[in-house]
């Protein structure tokens, strides 16, 4: 069982691990999928924006080139008035913040006619245009403080009034430009940065709380020191990709792309939860499916495990049952073998002795000797059958312990009455010692007697002649004031038992195989019955024994004290036979031999006997008899036509004066307690079991007659 349990636990653990691993793997896969999908989505948007921005740049350059060319074609040099008019038209058409020409000193001549430098312009962007003849896209702060993105290109130098024009340009307001790129992806939580080759923010469209720094790459690097070569990865060449970073303490997807036209980098940063939010439904559905699948898998696994477990359990149960059956059969066979042996032995005695008696019928003395032995064998047979019945009832759980008031002294006396003659026969001394404070208790005297007599008769049996047997009964305080504890010690100095036998002494059909005791009779059921009775009385029994030194049985019983108990009236030792003599007895017995034996025996005892072969006849016989004609009815229980119980009930119901008073004694082979109770219920006055002990019958009739008389 223990191994099975360990196997079960290991199995359960493995299943849990397997399930957990599956869940972990699915979560991991789901996350990976989400990341892949999200990053893919992000990259796609980044590309779109980058492309859009590149397109925008191209358009800007085209516009710039075209207005420079157009101006050159139209005016060649012109004056400021021409220029203002021309640029204003272009601005209206294209919607830039400003269009301008740049003079050699870096002053801008705007479409409004204003001439100004950028604020504190000591940057080198304009130098690159007017001196190095480069096209420049650069962030700047305009003359009035507006953040602009500048597209400037060199032009062939020309004079415009007092200015030497060396460049031209257009500019956007950064915010307007980024807004015009219509960045509304990811619920508008997307931060966009355009960075130059050093990571410096050229333009940005960000939200409150987003990362904001002059050099965004440095800021990212600072917050993510564990990402190696981050700067290189983000800024070098045409690298592009996506990664997960921390930005402002928040998990963020970062997509980096090159902006083809300017050589800048475009960074898109979106909080992971915002991106993943778009995948929420997918995640939820996937999650739900995963959970359902897992539950189904778990249920299937549990079902399979349970199925196999049940099959195993059933198999095991069947094996147990088979084993039990086998054992039962074995036991039955063993029992039958024992019974066969134990019954055959006395039966052999009976038949053998009967044959001998018949052969020597003329030799009265011899014949009486044989008959006496037949009686001994018969008695042994009866006790054997009683034992078998007890064992049967115990095995069936049908054995009932009666809780009646009893007197411990009576119990001791009855023991003494039985054991003394047995001990005397073997010249053994039997000593009873008692320390009893409460004589009256609630108990089952009959079976207590059975216990005591069984143990002591064994003691007598297994103690050689001249040996000693002791019974000590000591009363101790019980578990409460209502109870008394009785310690019964049965000791002898007999042959004792080997340890190997002691271990099995309380099992049925157990007898020690010993040359010294083989000659001793016994069913081997006595100690089994004793132990069973003690346990049914909620007591304990244990035995100590040593071969050659003797045996000691200790029985401990907790019995309720009967504070109101009174001594049973002692029966007078009278000649019971005289109560039978002259009595008119109606005998109802279906078995012819039994009927004949009973008739003969009763007649021997001086009784007048009428017979009935079933209950019906008995009722009729009684009903037809004159009032108070019969003194007693001996009623067999199991009879055809009408059984004894029914017949008794019918008689008691008859409308005649003696219907209630007539003594009805049940005679039955059923010697169980319930039979006694059943007979009482049927209105019978007493119960005797077969084979009929006529002495006991006589005594019973005597007692009942006295009681009736008193009553």
């Amino acid at each position: 069982m223990k191994k099975q349990r360990i196997r079960n636990i290991i199995g359960a653990a493995l299943i849990i691990i397997a399930l957990s691993s599956t869940v972990a793997a699915m979560v991991y896969e789901t996350k990976k999928t989400i990341y892949r999908e999200s990053s893919g989505h992000l990259v796609e948007i980044a590309h779109q924006m980058s492309d859009r921005f590149s397109e925008q740049c191209k358009t800007n350059w085209n516009v710039l080139d075209s207005f420079v060319q157009d101006y050159s074609l139209v005016y060649k040099t012109g004056n400021k008035e021409n220029m203002v008019s021309f640029l204003s038209d272009y601005r209206r058409t294209w919607g830039y913040l400003h269009l301008f020409f740049i003079d050699e000193n870096g002053s801008f001549i705007y479409e409004t006619g204003k001439v100004s430098k950028l604020q504190f312009d000591n940057s080198q962007s304009i130098y690159r245009v007017v001196a190095n003849q480069e096209r420049v896209v650069a962030p700047a702060t305009d003359y009035d403080g507006t953040e602009i993105l500048l597209f400037a290109a060199p032009v062939e130098a020309f004079e415009l009034e007092r200015y030497t024009i060396k460049g031209a340009g257009i500019c956007y307001e950064v915010q307007t430009m980024l807004e015009s790129m219509n960045i509304n992806a990811f619920k508008e939580s997307c931060d966009v940065y355009l960075l130059d080759e050093e990571g410096i923010t050229v333009a940005r469209s960000i939200h409150e709380g987003s990362m904001d720094a002059y050099n965004v790459v440095n800021a990212i690097e600072k917050e993510n020191p564990k990402i190696e070569d981050l700067k290189q990865q983000l800024l070098l060449g045409s690298n592009e990709g996506v990664m997960q970073i921390k930005a402002g303490g928040r998990d963020t997807y970062l997509s980096y792309t090159s902006v083809a036209v300017t050589g800048w980098k475009q960074l898109l940063m979106v909080p992971v939860d915002v991106v993943n939010n778009e995948m929420q439904n997918y995640t939820q559905v996937t999650g739900a499916l995963v959970v359902i699948l897992i539950l189904i898998a778990a249920a299937a696994i549990v079902g399979i495990v349970h199925y196999f477990y049940r099959i195993n359990a059933e198999k095991r149960q069947k094996e147990i049952e088979l084993e039990y059956e086998h054992k039962a059969n074995e036991s039955k066979s063993h029992f039958l073998a024992n019974m066969s042996h134990d019954i055959r032995t006395p039966m052999n005695g009976v038949l053998g002795m009967a044959t001998l008696a018949a052969a020597n019928i003329d030799d009265k003395q011899k014949a009486l000797g044989y008959i006496e032995k037949i009686q001994i064998s018969g008695k042994y047979l009866v006790s054997l059958i009683n034992d078998i019945l007890d064992v049967s009832k115990i095995s069936e759980g049908a054995f009932e312990i009666v809780a009646d008031s009893m007197n411990m002294r009576d119990f001791i006396n009855e023991i003494r009455t039985v054991v003394d003659p047995l001990a005397a026969d073997k010249k053994q001394s039997f000593t009873i010692e008692t320390e009893i404070q409460n004589e009256y208790v609630i108990g089952d005297k009959l079976h207590l007697n059975q216990i005591g007599i069984n143990i002591l008769s064994n003691a007598v049996k297994f103690t050689p002649q001249g040996g000693k047997i002791w019974l000590t009964i000591v009363e101790r305080p019980g578990i409460s004031e209502e109870y008394a504890h009785y310690h019964l010690e049965f000791r002898d100095n007999g042959i004792g038992m080997k340890k190997e036998f002691l271990d099995h002494i309380f099992e049925s059909f157990t007898r020690e195989k010993d040359s010294t005791i083989n000659s001793i009779e016994g069913s081997g059921l006595g100690m089994f019955i004793v132990k069973s009775l003690v346990e049914l009385m909620h007591g304990t029994i244990h035995v100590d024994s040593e071969p050659g030194k003797g045996t000691c049985f200790c029985v401990d019983l907790e019995l309720e004290i009967d504070r109101e108990g009174t001594m049973e009236e002692k029966e007078e030792n009278t000649d019971n036979a005289k109560f039978v003599r002259g009595k008119r007895v109606l005998l109802a017995e279906d078995n012819m031999i039994n009927r004949e034996i009973a008739v003969e025996m009763l007649r021997e005892m001086g009784a007048f006997v009428a017979t009935a072969e079933n209950g019906q006849e008995a009722v009729e016989e009684f009903a037809q008899s004159p009032l108070r004609y019969f003194d007693v009815i001996l009623m067999d229980v199991m009879m055809p036509v009408m059984d004894g119980y029914e017949a008794s009930r019918t008689i008691r119901k008859l409308e005649r004066e003696d219907a209630q008073s007539i003594l009805i004694i049940a005679i039955t082979a059923n010697a169980f307690q319930e039979d006694v109770i059943e007979s009482e219920k049927a209105g019978m006055d007493a119960h005797l079991s077969k084979p009929l002990d006529f002495a006991a019958l006589s005594e019973k009739i005597a007692v009942l007659t006295r009681h009736k008389r008193k009553g």
Binding site: V115, Q119, F120, D121, S123, T141, E147, D212, Y214, N215
Partner: protein, 631 residues
């Protein structure tokens, strides 16, 4: 019993040990809670901002290290070069020395604060994607004039170079000096050069680019700046500036205030209009055009110590960034400007230049502001040569070559002048003051030399400003860098602080050495708003001496005192001493004499070069004859 005794003893030792460790730790923790800022009387983080931060971070002590010398620019540069900077470092120049900055300063480029400034201002400080400073406000330079005076005389604000020349002629005809300035100071000539070059050259894209290349050693002056040097000389030749005046700023300013000078060259931030004066600012005219530019001078830069970025300094970093954050607001900028008409690099800052530039709205409207790109190392190092060039002793070409040579040899300001001596290790402030006391004693031949530091332990200035500042760093000490240890003369005359000699009674000497000297606090506390008490006198300034062997008790009472020759100093005696003028107040001395020939700068240089007799054995210094020969 003995075992028990030993165990108890062992436990006690462990407890004492742990207690000592914890005391040590707590001391260290205490230092971790000190945030330092350097400052001088004109360059600092406004007290209002520091007080606000103090309230926000009560657990942090914000300590200001006050500088009391005359060359804050060099002082800051020296501190930077010697890795001796506070947590918040205030300096006046940005020489784009990327290596030095990388080693000392925290890269601010990853912080949002830079985005509050206009793009061009931060771009100009960008070094390979890193930015180490945020800029202070900027002040306009030009020729300051009093509109009331002009009105009185019927003068008109000039709108071209020619008009300016004729104005100067007109002014001088009335016996009034045309343009005043700190003409005793070679730096003033360098600054004027920076202004003319701003208008002529730095205002152009090429000029801006050339300057950054030159500073970084990538460009030469030769072949590029000749025309602009010629233009500069023209300002003198045409009589706008006069290099022969040789008066110091104070004198010239007084004359200007009295109407004896028509225009004053300088930063508009130094002039405040009031009921009497209504100032305007004439820009610098670009040669050969009708354009004019206001040269701009950034008042300083703020940086954070690189150590603030290290683990364990998170709180300090937070404090540092918070100060930068507060400085980078309109309110913070105005606090720094102290109400003057200045301009800020802050985006959207609304300056108030209307009154000042009333006559030059076109200049302002066109954003004609040009940076006074002064390569301080080069120009300061060649200031003397510049004057020589003006005096005709050097040709323009020679001057330009000398500039290129200095740049090529990477000679910094700290290595200009004559080689004096080599400091074997960093001097303490006290040792540095002792050096000057010894120099004074040696030069004057008195029994005693004594002088105080210019800032006391509480960070208060002496009044009048006198004493010795800062300390020598390990390495070669040259004569020009002594300017960061000294102050200018207090009597308004030209040049550096003067020496005074006389005799002093033993009793007074005892008194001064034991109690130090306390001054009446200056009335204009704008100079030092950090440490002045609410009124009365300053805390004591204690003297360092030469020629004396003094031993003090723990409560700073004289335990023993004797002259170096072993003669005991008696209260009843009388002793000759040399000190800085008014450092020992004149009325404490008999036979008072003020040295007029040599200033403290020269005296200290001479001592370093030839003297070092007095306390030379006590100071960690030596002379390298090889280096002296190179002089």
């Amino acid at each position: 019993m003995r075992k028990v005794y030993k165990r108890v003893l062992a436990v006690c030792i462990v407890i004492v040990f742990l207690a000592l460790i914890s005391v040590g730790c707590s001391k260290e923790d205490k230092e971790d809670n000190v945030f330092t800022v350097n400052a001088c009387k004109t360059r600092y983080v406004p007290k209002s901002i520091l007080d606000k931060v103090r309230k926000e971070y009560p657990e942090m002590e914000i300590r200001v290290e006050m500088y009391g010398g005359a060359n804050f620019t060099l002082e800051a540069a020296e501190r930077l070069d010697h890795y001796d900077i506070p947590d918040l470092f205030v300096t006046t120049r940005n020489d784009l020395e990327i290596d030095t900055y990388q080693d000392n300063l925290l890269d601010l480029s990853s912080y949002e604060v830079l985005n509050r400034y206009i793009t061009q201002a931060i771009d100009s400080m960008n070094m390979n994607g890193s930015v180490y400073f945020i800029p202070n406000f900027t002040s306009l330079t030009g020729l300051v004039y009093d509109k009331n005076v002009f009105r009185e005389h019927g003068w008109k604000a000039p709108h071209s170079y020619e008009e300016l020349v004729s104005l100067c002629e007109q002014v001088e005809k009335t016996g009034i000096q045309g343009v005043g300035g700190a003409w005793d100071n070679p730096s003033a000539y360098s600054n004027v050069l920076a202004c003319t070059m701003a208008a002529d050259f730095y205002s152009t894209p090429e000029g801006t680019t050339w300057f950054y290349d030159f500073v970084q050693g990538k460009a030469k002056g030769e072949g590029v700046i000749e025309p602009y040097i010629a233009n500069y000389i023209r300002w003198y030749e045409d009589g706008i500036f006069d290099y022969e005046i040789q008066e110091n700023r104070a004198v010239q300013r007084e004359k200007f205030d009295n109407g004896e000078i028509a225009m004053m060259y300088g930063l508009i931030g130094n002039f405040k209009s009031d009921d009497e004066h209504d100032y305007g600012l004439i820009p610098f005219f670009k040669t050969g055009t009708d354009e004019a530019y206001y040269p701009t001078a950034t008042a300083g830069y703020f940086a954070l110590n690189k150590k603030l970025g290290e683990k364990g300094n998170e709180k300090k970093l937070e404090v540092g960034l918070r100060i930068l954050d507060l400085l980078s607001t309109e309110e913070g900028q105005k606090d720094m400007m102290r109400g003057d008409a200045c301009y800020s690099f802050l985006r959207g800052f609304k300056g108030d230049l209307n009154e000042i530039t009333e006559s030059y709205q076109d200049v302002v409207g066109q954003n004609h502001f040009a940076p006074m790109n002064v390569d301080m190392n080069t120009l300061a190092a060649t200031a003397t040569e510049l004057i020589k060039m003006l005096e005709g002793e050097l040709t323009q070409e020679e001057y330009i070559r000398s500039c290129d040579d200095i740049k090529r040899n990477e000679i910094t300001e700290a290595y200009t002048g004559e080689y004096l001596f080599t400091a074997k290790e960093n001097f303490t402030e006290k040792q540095t003051v002792q050096y000057f006391a010894a120099a004074l004693q040696d030069y004057a031949g008195t029994q005693i030399g004594m002088v105080t530091p210019s800032v006391n332990e509480q960070g208060e200035f002496s009044n009048p400003m006198t004493g010795i500042a800062s300390k020598f760093y390990k390495g070669d000490i040259y004569s020009w860098p002594l300017t960061r240890n000294t102050l200018t003369a207090i009597d308004g005359t030209s040049g550096w602080a003067k020496m005074s000699t006389g005799t002093i009674s033993g009793e007074t000497l005892y008194e001064l050495l034991e109690d130090g000297i306390c001054w009446k606090q200056a009335e204009d506390r704008m100079d030092n708003e950090y440490y002045y008490d609410k009124g009365g006198m300053t805390s004591p300034f204690y003297y360092e001496t030469a020629g004396l062997d003094v031993e003090f008790t723990s409560d700073h009472k004289i335990k023993s005192i004797q002259l170096n020759d072993g003669t005991p100093v008696k209260k009843s005696g009388s002793y000759t001493i040399a000190t800085l003028h008014e450092n020992v107040p004149d009325n404490y001395l008999e036979d008072l004499q003020i040295e007029e020939e040599e200033t403290i700068l020269e005296i200290a240089a001479k001592y370093g070069k030839t003297g070092m007799k007095g306390d030379k054995n006590n100071l960690p210094m030596e002379r390298d004859l090889e280096k002296e020969k190179k002089n």
